[in-house]
Amino acid sequence: MTDAASLSPSVHTTDEAAVRLKKRRSAETRLKAYGMIAIGLAALALVALLWNIVARTMNAATEHYIAIEAQIEEGEDDFLKVVKKSARAGFPYVSGRSGKRELYGLFSDGAADDMRRARDAGTLETGDAVPMRFLMSDTADLYMRGEFGSLENQESAGTLAIEEGGKAFTLRTDTGAFTDALGRAKAGLAVEADSLRRQAARQSAGITAQEARIDSVTGLEREDMLVQIEGFKAARDRLDGQASALDALVTGDGDTLLELSDRMASFFVEANGGILKLTEVSADIARAVPLVPMNDTDAAANGAWSLRILDRPEIGRPVKDRQVAILETLQRDGRIEEVANWKFFSLSDSTQPEIAGIKGALIGSMWTMLVTFCLAFPIGVMAAIYLEEFAPRNRFTDFIEVNINNLAAVPSIVFGLLGLAVFLNFFGTPRSSPLAGGLVLALMTLPTVIIAARAAIRAVPPSIRWAAMGIGASKTQTVFHHVLPLAMPGILTGTIIGMAQALGETAPLLMIGMVAFITAVPEGITDSATVLPVQVFNWANASERAFDMRTAAAIAVLLAFLVVMNAIAIILRKRFERRW
């Protein structure tokens, strides 16, 4: 001892010791830094995920309505017809088959559903001019959110003279007000010409490449190659011709009228209360067709008209120019209302995004989770109690224990297959029902519950058991009066982990038919139903773009469901918790 005591100062005060100490300390600092980086990255990922979901969910939080007057006759039954009739009456200037189709395309079938519901509730007014809100269609709604770009506003420069000529109008300025529009249209053409020329260049490259090879091949291959080269030459000449034709348009001077197509940006002139769409444009003169009629054809003074540009070509967006013009007019007149989308919680699945809701899936998830909990929790806890408190230690119980641990690692789809074979085919449980889903998910959750419950029961100090037995309690009384209540917090935590996992599963449900389109809200555990993650999956698969934000909203609801479930578990745990 004395030796060691006398040695130690010299060992710990040498230079080597100082170096060692420094090394150890810096290793510790590094470890701490790694930990902080790891946590930082995880937090960042979480924030990014939540931000992404919340930002997209915000879009689904509101919906747009068009306020016009409805024409509803007493005893009317076909409300889709009412919507169309009211639309025609509200926009009498829209004519022609395609024009009317585009007009109807602004309104959702949901508007008819609203009327039907109002009629059923006895609150539907009838008459020739009932002021009413009509739900907007999904694409129009997306336009209002700027999904297809927004209208650029160019202030007027100079007076605009308007001449009527047949169906079209000729617009004249003397200040070159359309120069910018003309420039943009030409830039679009130049890009198209470039692309054509690049394609032509590729054909030329093909010709060169094949001509270099042609002497090395014989027979059929040579003949094919000659045909191919001819094909390349024809394609090159055709593409070059198209490109030159476009070039001629681009280099044309500012006074020639350039014809606009649906592959270029759309140009609108707003004047005298109407909206015109340009069909031909030069620096000073443009030809245009009316989309929303003007009040008169008087010349519009400087500042009284404007040129508005939508950069995205008409061909590349589902909202057409006429629809844009009508929506802009409605917006100007304050007839578009944006209101909170409570419908999302009161409607079930639909193929139309604007009237698709989460209710069916939410209730379906609740029923499924109820069945899962009612089976997995008691069975899991009983099994844990038996294995921990009563079962003898022998090979057989060891075997069971190994199997339970293995079951926890089995892929969930396997439980789906099991469910299909056992519950559906053998027991005849109804397909797509929360009962079948709950049974399968309970099987999946059981191992997690058993393992957690066993750990919790084992953690109860043996002194509690001895004390209970010491005052004469039977084994059963000891377990149920003393051990189980004390183990409950841990058991609940394990159960919630298992349930949370089950809540997010779709794979096992695929097999038993819960991945389906179901509009009815389930009223019991044997009705057909779907669940939240399936709803997310189905909407993510749909081609309509408006389902994008609803997918995010459904994920938000799923997360909220999870938080509520966890909160319940935490409250219960706090109530049961004992410290010793």
Partner: protein
């Protein structure tokens, strides 16, 4: 007390399990391609009539027909959607399991598009190019070997010099089956392979064809992010995302609504549904559902299913199927099934 309640609920659930009730809603299974059209019809049917809205499951054509042919009775589906005609094997399975009377209805077409990002170079492919770029083994002029093409300009010198990277659906998808059959195997035919060899042509698995899941939306967003890749997806996704992606020409024909409807665009397939005649009159509403599906409102020129991207039948062909539905004419087995 508490645990006793839980036990009681558990017992009740067990009891409910034994009482499988007869259904009052139609059950439809099958193709994920027909799914959006079938659900749209189901929804309208539910709104227009007093019947329950049918339950539609997306199981894939093969999986759906297997369920459909499993037997007659409330536990089996009433209708199967398919993105191809029923196979002889499946028809025989149906017969063996007592599903003897089947009504066959063709509803329209679907185009399979090979596309890329809107700013990426335009592709003008032939089916032979597709075969050479994507088949596992390529035969040419009697020489057969594993596919060594790495870039598009090696396949055809007039194509852009970028690596062959095609995002597409996995083998479980009907779209993949149809793509293999209509684009790659047809291309093999053009390249001069004989019938037996054509059947053996499969998609290459060395990374040039990238399996990207059944979700076409995912393929669309990946294409938008990476202009160097091509993708394979259904026409309705091109229709909805025309501002982000564009379709390549195949054999000189652009994938547009009109070209697919007229049959000019070569990579298109027909869509069908099959009805179990034994269930008509037992499960309420089947006749009305069939009528709704072939109605003008659904698959007419301006029909709601057509707005979802279905390419409709010509009017006279539709008339024949409307007549078949009214007569409830079942398949005879003499159809030209494969």
């Amino acid at each position: 007390m508490k645990s006793r309640n839980i036990l009681a609920i558990a017992a009740l659930t067990a009891l409910a399990a034994t009482t499988a009730s007869a259904r009052d809603e139609i059950r439809i299974v099958g193709s994920s391609t027909v799914f959006p059209f079938s659900t749209a019809v189901a929804e309208q049917f539910g709104k227009k009539t007093d019947f329950e809205t049918p339950v539609v499951e997306s199981t894939g054509s093969g999986g759906g027909l297997k369920l459909f042919c499993a037997g007659v009775g409330a536990e089996h589906p009433d209708i199967a959607n398919a993105s191809r005609r029923i196979k002889l094997k499946e028809f025989n399975l149906c017969q063996d399991n007592g599903v003897t009377d089947i009504i066959e209805v063709k509803i329209g077409f679907d185009g399979i598009v090979i596309g890329n990002a809107v700013d990426a170079p335009a592709f003008d492919l032939t089916r032979e190019d597709v075969y050479k770029a994507l088949a596992k083994e390529v035969s040419q002029y009697g020489r057969t070997g594993p596919n060594k093409f790495k870039t598009w300009d090696e396949v055809n010198p007039s194509l852009p010099a970028q690596p062959i990277e095609v995002l597409g659906p996995p083998p479980t998808s009907g779209t993949r089956d149809a793509f293999e059959e209509l684009a790659i195997q047809e291309g093999a035919k053009e390249a001069g392979l004989d019938k037996k060899a054509i059947k053996k042509v499969v998609v290459r698995d060395d990374g040039a064809y990238i399996e990207s899941g059944e979700n076409d939306n995912l393929i669309v967003s990946k294409l938008e992010a990476d202009p160097a890749k091509l993708g394979v997806f259904g026409f309705s996704f091109l229709d909805q995302n025309a501002d982000r992606i564009k379709g390549s020409k195949v054999d000189g024909v652009e994938p547009t609504f009109d070209n697919i409807a007229s049959g000019d665009y070569p990579v298109s397939r027909s869509l069908w549904f099959y009805v179990k005649k034994a269930h008509i009159g037992v499960i309420p509403g089947i006749e009305e559902y069939m009528a709704e599906f072939v109605d003008d409102d659904a698959i007419g020129e301006d029909g709601y299913a057509v707005e979802k991207g279905l390419i409709p039948l010509e009017d006279d062909e539709r008339e024949t199927f409307i007549a078949a539905i009214e007569e409830q004419a079942s398949m005879t087995g003499d159809e030209d099934l494969h």
